[in-house]
């Protein structure tokens, strides 16, 4: 009974707080160099939202503008670095990515919208970063890039950028993708750390609200790697790790099974949104 009464008080107070600040994503449309982006899509079946919303809709006008124009977008500099790496010969086989895959605009189109996907060789989902490493080690006789280093984020961004505008749609029917999706979902709702928060605590229950200066979005991955005005070019697993650290929990390693499951699940949560790589974020 007490609980009920108090919930009533909290509710009433919550209402006043909501009217005090703007809590919603903006009503705006994104075109990048004239190409329309899908920033709102009907949620896939099984999602707790009706609509999936790009993080772009939660950003300030100036930040949104930076993303509209590839000349202004500071994330295009690393993408261009990635383009150089694409045709750079490396490793004992004397090959570059271009040797086998030719023009990335053709061969890599769609990759950013369909990864992670099932990789029968490792019997796990594979993301673009790990696919790059797979080709480097198995096809080029080159070393795998360490996490966040050596051009990993630049090349990943260059590849994903070839899918700019395409709607995200990963294939859960291949291999064991479905069970990785389920593990990812489990993790998404698991509260971690001393602060006892799950991804869903912030990105589902409170999307649209402010946590200090941060306008909480749905935590979508369709813009990664993103250019953060605060801290520069940022990979997806770096962002995942940062969010987990903020709950005061131990951070899983990049590309660990946990984070691959999470990437699979969270990518699915953004089904239908355009690939925006490189997105601009605060």
């Amino acid at each position: 009974m007490k609980r009920l009464l108090i919930a009533g008080v909290a509710l009433a107070a919550g209402l006043t707080a909501a009217s005090w600040s703007m809590a919603e994503p903006v009503d705006d449309t994104l075109e990048i160099d004239g190409k329309p982006m899908i920033t709102r899509a009907k949620a896939p079946e099984g999602m707790p939202f009706d609509e999936v919303l790009s993080g772009w809709l939660y950003r300030e006008a100036e930040t949104r503008d930076l993303e509209r124009d590839t000349f202004e977008n500071p994330g295009m500099v690393p993408v261009e670095d990635g383009e150089v790496l694409w045709s750079k010969v490396d490793g004992t086989a004397g090959k570059s990515c271009a040797t086998c895959h030719g023009d990335a605009a053709e061969s890599m189109k769609g990759i950013g919208a369909t990864f992670p996907k099932w990789d029968a060789d490792s019997n796990k989902p594979i993301n673009v970063e790990l696919q790059i490493n797979k080709c480097r080690t198995e096809q080029m006789g080159a070393e795998a890039y360490p996490f966040d280093k050596g051009g990993q984020n630049e090349l990943t961004a260059y590849i994903k950028h070839q899918s700019l505008g395409l709607p995200v749609q990963i294939d859960l029917a291949e291999g064991d993708m479905q069970s990785w999706w389920e593990q990812g979902k489990e993790l998404y709702y698991t509260r971690t750390g001393q602060l006892d928060l799950a991804c869903a605590s912030c990105h589902e229950a409170n999307a649209g609200k402010f946590i200090r200066a941060d306008h909480l979005s749905q935590g979508q991955v369709n813009g990664f790697p993103v250019y953060r005005l605060k801290s520069g070019f940022t990979s997806l697993h770096n962002r995942f790790r940062g969010c987990i650290r903020d709950t005061r929990a131990e951070m899983p390693k990049a590309f660990s099974d946990e984070l691959m499951a999470l990437e699979t699940y969270v990518t699915w949560r953004g089904t239908g949104l355009s690939v925006e790589t490189p997105a601009v974020r605060p």
Binding site: R3, A13, A17, G193, I211
Partner: protein
């Protein structure tokens, strides 16, 4: 002159009290929740509202402003709105209930609440090593925050 003496005496008394109280600090596992909330002070030492305001703002301590707006701190930028505004909160709740909310809000709201328990060891999975077995706030910091919340009354 007189006033100053009183003041010094008061401080001395408070210090003596706090030394006495240290031994009677209630451990997080031993906190007793009743229907009214937590009726006993966690330390026996009255909270200090000035310290409490600092704990409230500090991003590494209470970080209450991350989720709650508070007009009393209008000069601080960026108040969150994940939780309700705390203006006048002391008129809405008595101290024992406020203590329970700050110690472990799940006992008052629902298990689903996103407000952390500030003096609770009932926390999430995989707590980072440096926080294992530790509460977010100390018992005295909780009492200080409560003293500050007590001032939020019209």
């Amino acid at each position: 002159m007189m006033r100053r003496m009183n003041f010094t005496l008061g401080v001395a008394a408070a210090i003596m009290l706090s030394t006495a109280a240290l031994s009677s600090e209630i451990a997080p596992e031993a906190v007793e929740f009743t229907d009214e909330g937590i009726t006993m002070s966690l330390t026996g030492t009255p909270g200090d509202p000035v310290e409490g305001a600092k704990v409230f703002k500090n991003t590494g301590l209470g970080n209450c402003l991350a989720c709650h707006a508070n007009e009393d701190m209008a000069s601080d930028q960026f108040h969150g709105d994940v939780g309700p505004a705390l203006d006048d909160v002391a008129s809405r709740y008595d101290e024992p209930l406020l203590r329970a909310i700050v110690v472990n809000s799940k006992t008052i709201f629902t298990d689903e609440t996103v407000m952390p328990g500030f003096y609770s060891l009932d926390v999430g999975k995989n707590v980072a090593e440096k926080f294992v077995g530790k509460t977010i706030l100390t018992a005295q910091q909780v009492e200080d925050v409560l003293a500050y919340l007590g001032t939020l009354k019209e």
